[in-house]
């Protein structure tokens, strides 16, 4: 499991990734104008080989001025994490299915034909 801590600070979204199996990493995205999520994507594709899911938390930003925009950003970032997790889930399911197939085959007393 990889922990992700998200926090809006002034004009930035600061994202911190940490966990037992990764080196702590911090990514900052500017949110004052257009918001480019590529830095997060870039880092997430690096994490793909670890086959670990993300658990994310958002620091409270209810007092912020542009709460509506930040909510949309939060929705998008969370959506990205969800899709990441769903990919990992899918890969795990595929692996499990393969294992099950193998076990079924190994446990079967029947001949193949």
């Amino acid at each position: 499991m990889i922990n992700v801590n998200n926090q809006f600070q002034k004009n930035n979204l600061s994202i911190e990734f940490f966990g037992d199996t990764i080196i702590k990493n911090q990514i900052t995205i500017t949110v004052s104008n257009d918001v480019n999520f590529k830095p997060v994507i870039d880092y997430l594709i690096q994490l793909i080989p670890k086959r670990l899911k993300l658990t994310s938390t958002f620091e409270d930003f209810s007092q912020a001025d542009n709460i509506e925009k930040l909510t949309l950003i939060q929705e998008t970032v969370s959506g990205i994490y969800e899709r990441f997790n769903s990919s990992i889930d899918h890969s795990e399911t595929s692996e499990n299915k393969e294992e099950e197939k193998l076990n079924d085959y190994n446990n079967s007393d029947d001949l193949l034909f």
């Binding site: 999520f37 994507i41 949309l72 899709r83 990919s87």
Partner: protein, 790 residues
């Protein structure tokens, strides 16, 4: 026609005449007639014999025989059977019998030796004649002779020494380097073991002990049967019928003394090359060469024509490895004949697996280049080799297929990565305004395509119709009723499907209608509402792209892992003999991973393949040697960087696995060549083995010991033709046929020699480096000097 190589002939050096009655009471049965004996000898194809009466020589019989001797008659060596007295510990005497066979073939010498015996024993009662060993050496000191004692049966040397020091008897036999007569098979081993104890360690266990039996005939009318009337089994020697041949036989009994029955088996050898008639070859004298079915060696100085003859034979037997064309000679008049053929022919084709043909230095080359496929061919395992190669090709194809998947997955991953992951400020504004829009309608009902079902029912209807009308099934009334019921059921189901289709069409029409209404409504909204709708759609699209990207990254990572875990350490084994396997190997190393990493600028082997390829995803200019990435360029680059590995699958490195003795990769060239030769010689189908200078492939130790043992072991199983400079191979290998190649002022000639001829020995010595010392060494059967000094 006399053979011009060492061939087998029968020998009988223990035949009595009626003179034995003079020295022993009633020893000879019937009346002796040398002419009758001669007839019997010729009839039995005996080529070398001796008249050996007890302590006396029938000089008259010798004279008669020599006076009437013509070429081709059996050769008579002067001989005598002596009673040898042995003093026992209690001063009494026991006697044993021994043959003395002299290197003499004239009446004069027979008379001379007869006189020596008579003069020496003149004062002894003729019926009680005997001499001591010392007297024998004193009396016959000027002569060359062999001492062949009875070592078993009546009056044998062992019994005679039973109350004396047996070592003296053994030393006596060792000193004479001769043969034991009348020893039964079951006693041979014991004799060998006992005599071994006295020999110099270097000469032990060499099976040099010679055992031979003669007829001991006492009645020429019943020749060759012995006195007891039992059937006599002849022994044979190899070579021409001379005393020198006898000497060679006693030095090398294993190769040169055989029972008649064994010789018959040896002569019944497989198909072999019998003769080659050389004619019309530029700068080569016309000649006929006759080959032994056993070991043939071609010797001669530099440029004497040895290899020319070797390659000429190779061409004539249709072997594809010969190099005769380099001599630029016309061989159209050269004829060759097989042992099983009556007529010489222009060619004598052998099947590929019947001939092993090895050119000079080939064996070492095979090991150096790691290509031992010739061994597989020479040992008849071509099918297994093809199967092994096919397996490796299949592995290579799997690898190429993995490359293809890797490339495709990378390409998809790369395409998704190139998309935008930005939400623009304007979209945020649009999404946060308070305008509304109608959300797109998504039906929750999934409509099933009924075309397949319709087709299924139609097929069933058609089949029922065919079934019903087919007379072969002989439907009765009740069966017809069942079929019709089923037909009606299908009709009902068809109607049901038709109804469902109509319902589906209505639902589809309704959904389309709802969508049209919503689109029309959204189109009529103000632009801010439309912008909000489109911005939300773009946000959703960003998330969908992320999902695709992660999925593709995962798939690409899977391909990376497959390639990372792929060990190119494939190994295919071909069992060549019981103890030798040929291994086709693709070595396990990091070349594959290194190659894949090398495709990327700044690729680092310490990083995973996935990590390295993220560099290319982020910047498509990072495909090494190419300005820009394309799918085709990536696969080209992958194949180029892993070319070495891919090529290995086409030409895998080969080596021999010697089981408990390691493998050819860590053995010396000599050891490997030894194993190679052993392996191919064991191949049963092979009938002819041809090797140009085998010594070039071998270490000195092997040359002198193992190769010779190998040649001696196999020369009676298959014909061997060698070109050699090595005297050990010729002399210790006991070559049956020696072909001397000579070059006199550019004119090449071939002549045939054999070892046991003294004149030929000189020629052989002159033409082989170190030949004289090898001949001298070979004459030392037991290291007699050391024995005498001790």
């Amino acid at each position: 026609m006399n053979k011009i190589y060492s061939d087998w002939f029968k020998v009988d050096l223990h035949i009595h005449s009626d003179f034995s009655n003079k020295t022993k009471t009633k020893d000879y049965d019937g009346s002796f007639n040398i002419d009758i004996l001669k007839e019997k000898l010729i009839e039995n194809q005996v080529k070398l014999f001796s008249l050996t009466d007890h302590n006396i020589i029938n000089a008259e019989a010798y004279k008669n025989y020599y006076d009437n001797f013509t070429n081709g008659d059996p050769v008579l060596l002067v001989g005598c059977e002596f009673d040898i007295k042995v003093k026992q510990d209690d001063d009494s005497f026991l006697t044993y019998h021994t043959l003395l066979i002299f290197d003499e073939t004239t009446t004069e010498k027979a008379n001379e030796i007869a006189s020596i015996i008579e003069n020496h024993l003149t004062e002894t009662n003729i019926k009680e004649r005997s001499v001591s060993e010392d007297e024998i050496f004193e009396l016959f000191q000027p002569y060359h002779f062999f001492y062949i004692p009875h070592a078993g049966g009546h009056k044998n040397i062992i019994d005679a020494y039973k109350d004396a020091d047996i070592r003296k008897a053994q030393e006596m036999v060792l000193l004479m380097e001769c043969a034991h007569e009348k020893v039964k098979e079951k006693h041979r081993l014991r004799h060998q073991q006992e005599f071994d104890k006295l020999k110099d360690p270097d000469f032990r266990n060499k099976k040099d002990e010679a055992f031979i039996n003669f007829s001991d005939n006492h009645n020429c009318d019943i020749y060759p049967n012995p006195k007891n009337g039992a059937t006599h089994e002849f022994y044979c020697l190899k070579g021409e019928p001379t005393f020198e041949t006898l000497r060679f036989a006693f030095i090398d009994p294993q190769s040169r003394i055989r029972k008649q029955q064994e010789v018959d088996l040896l002569k019944n050898v497989k198909k072999h090359i019998s003769t080659i008639e050389i004619k019309g070859i530029k700068d080569v004298d016309d000649c006929n060469i006759e080959f032994s079915p056993n070991l043939n060696v071609i010797i001669g100085g530099a440029s004497s024509g040895k290899s020319l003859l070797f390659n000429l034979i190779g061409k004539k037997i249709g072997n594809n490895k010969h190099d005769f064309q380099k001599y630029n000679c016309n061989d159209s008049e050269v004829l060759i004949k097989a042992s099983n053929s009556q007529t010489p022919q222009l060619t004598l084709p052998f099947n590929d697996d019947e001939v092993i043909y090895i050119n000079q230095g080939d064996i070492v080359k095979y090991f150096e280049t790691g290509d031992l496929k010739e061994l597989v061919i020479d040992s008849g395992r071509e099918n297994q080799l093809s199967e092994a190669k096919e397996k490796l090709q299949s592995t290579k194809n799997n690898l190429l297929s993995e490359f293809e998947t890797f490339k495709n997955r990378f390409d998809r991953f790369n395409s998704s990565y190139r998309k935008d992951f930005i939400i623009h400020e304007g979209d945020f504004e649009s999404m946060t305004n308070d305008k509304f829009h109608f959300v797109e309608f998504t039906p929750s009902v999934e409509l099933i395509d009924l075309t397949e079902k319709e087709r299924l029912l139609e097929n069933i209807s058609n089949n029922i119709s065919s079934l019903k009308n087919d007379e072969i099934f002989e439907f009765n009334n009740s069966e017809n009723t069942v079929v019709e019921s089923f037909e009606n059921l299908i009709k009902t189901k068809k109607e049901l499907i038709l109804q469902k289709k109509l319902t589906n069409e209505s639902i589809s029409h309704f959904i389309e209608g709802v969508k049209t209404v919503l689109d029309e409504k959204n189109n009529n909204l103000e632009s801010a509402s439309r912008a909000k709708k489109e911005a939300l759609s773009r946000k959703q699209s960003l998330l969908t792209t992320c999902k695709t990207l992660f999925k593709q990254a995962l798939e690409f990572d899977e391909s990376c892992m497959i390639l990372e875990q792929l060990k190119c350490d494939n190994k295919e084994e071909i069992k060549v003999t019981e103890s030798v396997k040929l291994i086709l190997e693709i070595e396990n190393n990091d070349q594959l991973r290194q190659g894949i990493t090398n495709c990327i600028n700044g690729g680092e082997i310490e990083k995973s393949i996935y990590e390295n390829y993220l560099v290319l995803v982020r910047d498509n200019n990072n495909l090494k040697d190419y300005k820009e990435y394309t799918e085709d360029r990536l696969i080209q680059k992958l194949k180029k960087e892993t070319k070495l590995i891919l090529n290995n699958y086409d030409a895998p490195r080969t080596y021999l696995d010697y089981g408990g003795n390691g493998n050819s990769k860590n053995k010396s060239p000599g050891f490997n060549a030894e194993m190679y030769l052993k392996t191919i010689l064991h191949y049963e189908k092979c009938k002819v083995v041809m090797i140009d200078q085998p010594e070039d492939n071998l270490g000195n130790t092997f040359k002198n010991e193992d190769l010779i043992n190998l040649l001696r072991d196999f020369k009676f199983l298959k014909q061997i033709i060698l070109v050699t400079h090595n005297p050990s191979i010729v002399v210790y290998g006991d070559a049956e046929s020696i072909i001397l190649a000579e070059n006199t002022s550019g004119q090449i000639s071939y002549s045939q020699l054999f070892l046991e001829n003294k004149d030929f020995q000189k020629l052989i010595i002159d033409n082989l480096d170190g030949g004289k010392s090898i001949f001298d060494m070979r004459s030392r059967k037991y290291n007699i000097k050391k024995l005498l000094n001790s």
